[in-house]
Symmetry: C2
Amino acid sequence: MKTATDQKATSLETVQSSLLNMGLLDGLSSAQFNDFLQQAVQKTYPKGFVLFAQGDEAEAFYLITRGWVKLYRETLDGEEAVVDVLTAGHLFGETAIFEEDGYGMSAEVVEEAEIVSLPLGLLKQLMAESPQLSMNMLKTMSRFRRQQDMELEHRTLQNASQRIGCFLLRLCKPDAKSPIRLNLPYDKTLIASRLGMKPETFSRALARLREDTGIRIQGATVEIDGLNQLSGYSCSTCSSSYPCKDL
Amino acid sequence: MKTATDQKATSLETVQSSLLNMGLLDGLSSAQFNDFLQQAVQKTYPKGFVLFAQGDEAEAFYLITRGWVKLYRETLDGEEAVVDVLTAGHLFGETAIFEEDGYGMSAEVVEEAEIVSLPLGLLKQLMAESPQLSMNMLKTMSRFRRQQDMELEHRTLQNASQRIGCFLLRLCKPDAKSPIRLNLPYDKTLIASRLGMKPETFSRALARLREDTGIRIQGATVEIDGLNQLSGYSCSTCSSSYPCKDL
DNA sequence: CGAGGGTTTGAAGTGCATCAAATAGTGTGG
DNA sequence: CCACACTATTTGATGCACTTCAAACCCTCG
């Protein structure tokens, strides 16, 4: 719950290339794009920094260029439900553009992150002028929505071990060659809540996944011999078979 | 899994007023609106009719004017996850507009329904011309997305009885006077899957809800003395307190 | 009346949560 | 470089919630 503030501005060029890569702003005139660029601010945020809290007035949306950010909701009695954990290339906060009572969730940095913030007002304004921009926005939202649908399905139909397997599969590069080695991107407790389970359950479920599929785990390092090994285990109770490109 | 076909065309006027009410087409020129109207088809579908299945090529989107429709996904091993159950005034299938591989879920009529179908192609075409239309679409999607977020939160944080209480609350008209009487809109088995639980669990959880809150249940009829009674019970583990306008 | 679906009830099992405690890992100051 | 403090992770024991399988009940409709 830190609100510390080590925030270092970085060069415009970096910001520019980041913005171009995210797709949302494709098709804007260069004048329009420059408007954005002028108002873009890139900073470095420490772990624990809260970018915004549920209900805050929505003034900006964000693009991550490094690090990890957690999106979550808090209930009246203090529980926390992690909606998603995002990293470089991901966009967030932009869906607040149509919501009257501020951001629908909170966002907190979980691993030191570089983040570009952009004014929502400008986005809204340019959207009225550029159908292409609206279209991009729709695509973005559509993809998010599909992800959320999958998420709900997973919670309903997959057990803890399968959800972990699915999570690991999504960490694998599609073209990786066996055996695949990968590192868990953030700590196990956070992965657990990302997947809707308690840390203890995560630990046990991971152990079971290891026994059932033969993957090897050493601390935060995971080694997988073949993807079929995992996809057969995790994807059977899912409506889209591996590779599920939506997640 | 019926595919029967009793389909009766209805008058253009009815279709027109339905279309005007749904908000999505606000701001279109009358010429554009008429294009839509020309291609709108309203039919009556029997219970069990499958409007489209996951993966089908997406050619139309739909507006319900009467009855109930279930949106769901099916897994490889035959399980079914109900995404939502919709009724008059609800729109569905329109989010397939940006998806390359057809509808992301299946849609089946669960209570005889009158449904207007509209060509997705036309929507896409007009969206390029009318920023307002894109904007409407974005609002629609944004609302859907928020609903899905809530849904996920509920599955994570509420137990079965609380989810049923929440469901009942959303059936109540906000201005209803106590005691509130209402009828379950579709059968209990379907409500159960809508809420992500088995019929047996639903039955027992409903019994527990009755004991804990004092609501009265007689078959499909529910009587509630006060909303606080229910909201206190169901909404405490939720991030938005009653009345949660998003669902 | 009888068939069949929806609903409830009972008994037993499974999975995840909880509480408690041990262990491993990490960073700090000495 | 070590000892300590603190956090992350694992393990064990137990409980509760939901599911499963089975059977009874109920209601509607032909």
